[in-house]
């Protein structure tokens, strides 16, 4: 992870390996999207940039809204491997909350799907490779809203 070349090589290796693995599982029937879970959006989870991830998720232009979305992240993360993230929203009819890390090799960290009766709040922990923005994307009544906050990472979470 010291040089650009090394990074590019790792990305290439990863992309190739990932596709091979999924193809293999697909062939073996181990990945059944209908398996009582909502479909895991492979394109979105493999996205390398914020734009790619949003496009793959079918989000055109999310409305910036810091009033109705409360994103809680540390200002400084000493350990990029464990960064606590809390997203809550006061919007009505929240269907989905997604957490994205702007400069991670895989931008989309998680999607949460909220059935009626579940409070529109979730707390989890993400890895961060470097200082960048954490984005909270909220889908409510079919519309997307977003807000973001910068987290300064003093030690990366790639473990490389």
């Amino acid at each position: 992870m010291n040089t650009e070349i090394d990074l590019a090589r790792r990305k290439a290796l990863k992309a190739g390996g990932g596709i091979g693995l999924f193809a293999l599982f697909g062939a073996l029937g181990l990945l059944r999207p209908g398996m009582a879970f909502a479909d895991w959006n492979k394109t979105a989870f493999s996205a390398k940039t914020m734009d790619e991830a949003l496009t793959a998720m079918g989000v055109a232009t999310p409305e910036n809204n810091a009033v109705f979305i409360q994103l809680t992240v540390p200002e400084i993360a000493e350990n990029g491997a464990i960064v606590p993230v809390k997203v809550a929203s006061t919007l009505l009819n929240v269907e989905q909350i997604s957490i994205l890390v702007d400069k991670n090799p895989n931008v989309l960290a998680a999607n949460f799907i909220f059935p009626a009766g579940t409070e529109s709040m979730v707390t989890t922990r993400v890895k961060m490779g470097q200082t960048c923005n954490v984005v909270a994307l909220v889908k409510a009544d079919g519309k997307f809203y977003r807000t973001s906050k910068e987290v300064k990472v003093t030690a990366g979470g790639c473990g490389g």
């Binding site: 693995l21 181990l30 879970f37 890390v101 949460f112 909220f114 009766g117």
Partner: protein, 104 residues
């Protein structure tokens, strides 16, 4: 079969708070061993929490979720003594399901 999850659920004022700690390596597929070989991606892709057979939260994870993933959420309903079931699936097709009883 992965390792057991730790699940804590507590009901208060008609709302149940659920905390889940899964045990999983969550390998990104980007990390290298000391000898330079790449550790293949291995991570939980889907998580589902149910209360008496009704889904109360579904999550889809990517590689950016930390090792031993932690989740906290709340849902309306749930009473002391009732069961919460949490299950996950990873990208290798491994599965795990654990139960917990709602406490006070």
């Amino acid at each position: 079969m992965g390792n057991p999850m730790k699940i804590r659920a507590a009901a208060k004022d008609g709302v149940t708070e659920v905390k889940i700690l899964m045990q999983h390596e969550m390998e990104t597929g980007l990390r290298k061993e000391a000898d330079g070989t790449l550790v293949p991606a291995w991570f939980i892709t889907e998580v589902k929490a149910q209360h008496l057979g009704r889904t109360v939260l579904e999550a889809q994870f990517g590689q950016s979720i930390s090792k031993n993933p932690y989740l906290l959420f709340r849902f309306k309903g749930g009473a002391v003594g009732e069961k919460i079931t949490v299950s996950w699936v990873d990208n290798k097709g491994d599965k795990r399901e654990d139960e917990a009883v709602i406490g006070a």
